[in-house]
Assembly symmetry: D2
Homo-oligomer: 338 residues x 4
């Protein structure tokens, strides 16, 4: 940590700051520049963060040097983490994983039908929401417990592991029973109580980036989960909020190489939610493979006109099949398989 002093900081103020640094068991290192004096704080930055140095008289600003997260960082673990999702299905390695399915579980037959279709095209995980976070209280909120059971049946019938979203810590037992991967949605990325709860389990967790979260915030939320003991985390970029309204959110594709540099965790992209329009799902999916993501989360629906949620962004199975072929070619070009 670097403490930058105001040009007119007094000797007394500087002494006071140095003393506080020493009280924390750290070492101050003064450096009188031409315009400003700065104090380097040598030692564990976590300790220094406990003291609000910005509030001290004479201080202009505080510059952190060390990363605020640990276990999720590339410095903590150099090699890529490979997360086991189900027998024979893992993510983060050479294989690129596509998770596909409807936005929301509507009924058993439709779900099983879609599951069979996406499996045939090469998807390795079935997605589908039973509990739905909807902006409006008047929108369809999901089939809840019944939806969970339909997912479980679809899994038994197709062999595809399932991923579905958890919104309330009180529903966790149900998820531990039925789900293979617990999804934490963008709107709950900083629902810290929920993060702690899933951190106490050992289930794989797919954590979606909040729509206003920096990559640093995102990794800190993952750190919440790991700090409770659960290392099975998949990060999901799903678009951030910007001024551009041609798409629902702006896919921050650079987040993939940035996260790969900072963290060892696998990263997937959700092209359906970030764009909000099925037309854009194919080009963004191809970009996801090329940029180095480890997987995709794609919405597929056999009859988007009748979808109870997010119909406009769902691919039809035939389009999904074509896309999968294209993705396989690109994956091959960069030395991966799907």
């Amino acid at each position: 940590m670097i403490i930058v002093l105001k040009p007119d900081a007094t000797k007394k103020q500087i002494l006071h700051i140095e003393q506080k640094i020493k009280e924390l068991g750290l070492k101050p290192m003064l450096s009188a520049g031409k315009e400003r004096t700065i104090i380097g704080v040598i030692g564990e930055e976590d300790k220094a963060r406990l003291q609000p140095f910005e509030a001290f008289p004479g201080v202009e600003s505080v510059v952190p040097i060390q990363k605020p997260y640990k276990f999720v960082s590339r410095e903590f673990k150099k090699e890529n983490s490979i997360i086991k999702l189900a027998p024979g299905v893992e993510i983060g390695g050479q294989k690129f994983i596509v998770m596909a399915g409807p936005c929301t579980v509507e009924n058993r037959d439709r779900l099983v039908n879609i599951a069979n279709l996406v499996k045939k095209s090469g998807a390795k995980v079935l997605r589908g929401g039973a509990f739905k976070p909807r902006t409006s209280p008047y929108s369809f909120q999901g089939l809840k417990d019944k939806g969970m059971k339909f997912l479980y049946e679809a899994k038994k019938m197709t062999g595809l592991p399932i991923i579905t979203e958890l919104m309330d810590p009180r529903d966790l037992p149900l998820f531990l029973k039925y789900a293979d991967i617990i999804q934490i949605g963008a709107r709950n990325m900083q629902n810290f109580e929920l993060l702690k709860e899933v951190g106490k389990t050992r289930k794989p967790v797919l954590l979606k980036r909040g729509m206003a979260s920096t990559i640093k915030d995102f990794l800190l939320s993952a750190e919440y989960i790991v700090s409770e003991g659960n290392h099975n985390i998949i990060l999901c970029e799903r678009g951030i909020r910007t001024f551009e309204d041609a798409t629902r959110f702006t896919l921050d594709i650079s987040a993939v190489p940035v996260i790969k540099k900072l963290s060892h965790l696998p990263v997937v992209i959700d092209p359906s939610h970030c764009s909000g329009i099925w037309d854009y799902v194919a080009p963004l999916s191809k970009a996801a493979v090329a940029v180095g993501a480890d997987g995709l989360l794609i919405e597929v629906h056999d009859d988007p006109e009748k979808a109870m949620c997010d119909g406009p962004q769902a691919l039809k199975p035939a389009k999904f099949e074509i896309l999968m072929q294209e993705l396989k070619s690109i994956a091959k070009a960069i030395g991966r398989t799907i």
Copy 2:
């Protein structure tokens, strides 16, 4: 709702859409323009929203006309809502209400001391966090139950009603027992399960705007609470995320007149969290009074250097006292009292 068709939409596609509109019990109204045909949907837009018309062949875009929220809208209730916070303390009327106190409850004596000081200066509500949402799992997470009890004791000793943040639906009974106003933080603005839970109570709820939430999203989250029966809602603008990094968040001061036009609910501003720097709290507070907000939520700490949370943005009691005098002058100039 207006459905805008693609320039090359076929007759068959148009007929199909018209038929669907009729099936919903609504009336389609075709209007063939020079470049595009549009279909007006006459009737309750909520019904039309159930059908994902964007997913229909031939459709270019769908333009909503009616507001997606009801009970919180100015159209539903013309006059300003006045929320009773405690005997003799209400918000939304002629009186401008200042809520002040430390970011987090640290110990009983400090809390009571600060409470007495802010009360003397004219604050009408004591703020203080017992459960703290922190970006990092390694930051102080609050005194929790013990903090709640300290707040309750401070209330009994000073007579100030208390506002404190709820993060987990499982803690609600504790809040019903001790708190006067339940705060829902920005990071939980779209934690819909939590919104529903506080909606089932009749406690006043102060709902903070999410840092990436449009005003429409914000009002829809308030609608979640009202739709469960709780009409006692105070909206709080606390800054949105933008590219500007001179302040922690960007205070969207225009949100006050915009919300006042769209909704009957009272609106307050939190100048401490949006700026992150105590220096800016006074000018932003004055702007809040002038722009027509109904109150303020200000952090005050008697020793910011030792604050366990957000010290850099806390005002010292002496500065708070001066600010209150200035706010009273401005309030008077626009016909209100503090």
Copy 3:
């Protein structure tokens, strides 16, 4: 400047960096922390900036400490700058200055009529565009030279100094002849050739903040003008681009205290362009006075329905008159006059 090294930076890399620092006539100061080594660069940061240290092997990041601007900074000049706009009219001192008038000059009679009305209400400067930057090539682009002459006539008839926007360096002679204040619009805030040209004159320049410009960028653009010798600069906050679409832009009201801290230049607010809706002009103007701005730039039109540009955001003269009365009360409450 602080150079933060990668955890695995080699001794050879460090030596190489230290040597480069010395070659620039600066002093490196090594500080080996627990996780990372950092190198403080002692001396003029401008020199250090000439070398792209981020591109050196072993470097993780570079943290600037000194401000990149000089003459516009509060450190360079402690007291507020007061800019003389015309005989008896200055900005940046105790007096709050309102500049008002139509978005664009439409014809002589209308302009003179509006000028007389705003003058009567207390405006001290007449605004009006002759050259208009329009997003679409098919929108009205202004009366150009003829508009300039109408402005000049309105000035002679009312005694109000005039402010109008310059878009092309080739039009500068015309502006030097007719205008009292040259406005540089938001879209040209980083048109550096234009900044240099107005920097060579001694005319007061009102520089609008770019819609995607940080305050640091904004001050650097002002520095472009000062570095050519023209110190007569007024900064104008006019809204930044964010995801919120209830207003055209988001007024960054915090920019006023932030700029006041960093710079000695006067700051005004343009509530008409940032909101885009006349309804919001009055509350935002009141906030501008309370937050400590030095003036306002308000659009007034006697017949907004017929306005050739931005009619929806123009105040009618009667509303402007009422607003001016309210602004005077608030100004008085904070010890200023209008």
Copy 4:
């Protein structure tokens, strides 16, 4: 255009609006909904835009239906535009075009050396700035006329056509003499006078998206150029400004499929400026090919440590050579060649 009325709009107000619509030679079409009445305006929307209907009493909002741009739209021209850059070099067709070179021209020998290296790797155009738009007036501003001559010499020696940035209309003759493609930078995307000037020539223009510009604004700026007669336009996505600071700007990769849908013009991506860090240039370039862009603009420097501008984002020639091989594989996978 749809005019949405306020719930309490009076008959008189509605009649007044209808009359105005008719006066413009357009046809009003009333549609009384459950909550609101709307008026469809049948006819050319350009005409309707001349009247500020938002300013009319009784009007709540105005919803445009037609696109505000024409010649650049996909509706105006269905097939992709192919722009001829030099004999045997065109963009927008099956071939993917890489433009590479240093950020700024530093001296003749270095430029020729880099030009030869990028040509050998497969680049088809040489990039390099002679006039540099720099945020700070104290940064290197380019070699100007001398730089232009060096570019011309490099062109003669390598056969590569050159692209370089124009900032001032007064420099246009120099560009017409030496440049093959005129670049308009992000900061000048709404410098409308400059757009008009290059519109009057027939030189290919590469227009960079402004960092706060929506895609609609972007296309309108291109329309400025076309409306003066120059149809040879290449659009360049180079990152927009968002809250994320891990990269200098946020590459809006979705802009490629969005623009491809709305316009017939070729689209390229600049991965160097949007990320600001050379590490991210390779993954983003691969994504650019996969997403369907027509080309790339990449910074290459043989000694980034000594680069006078943007060294941290430049690729070394050896890395560029490897990248080009990877891009060729991906291009092949999607049926294109480089």
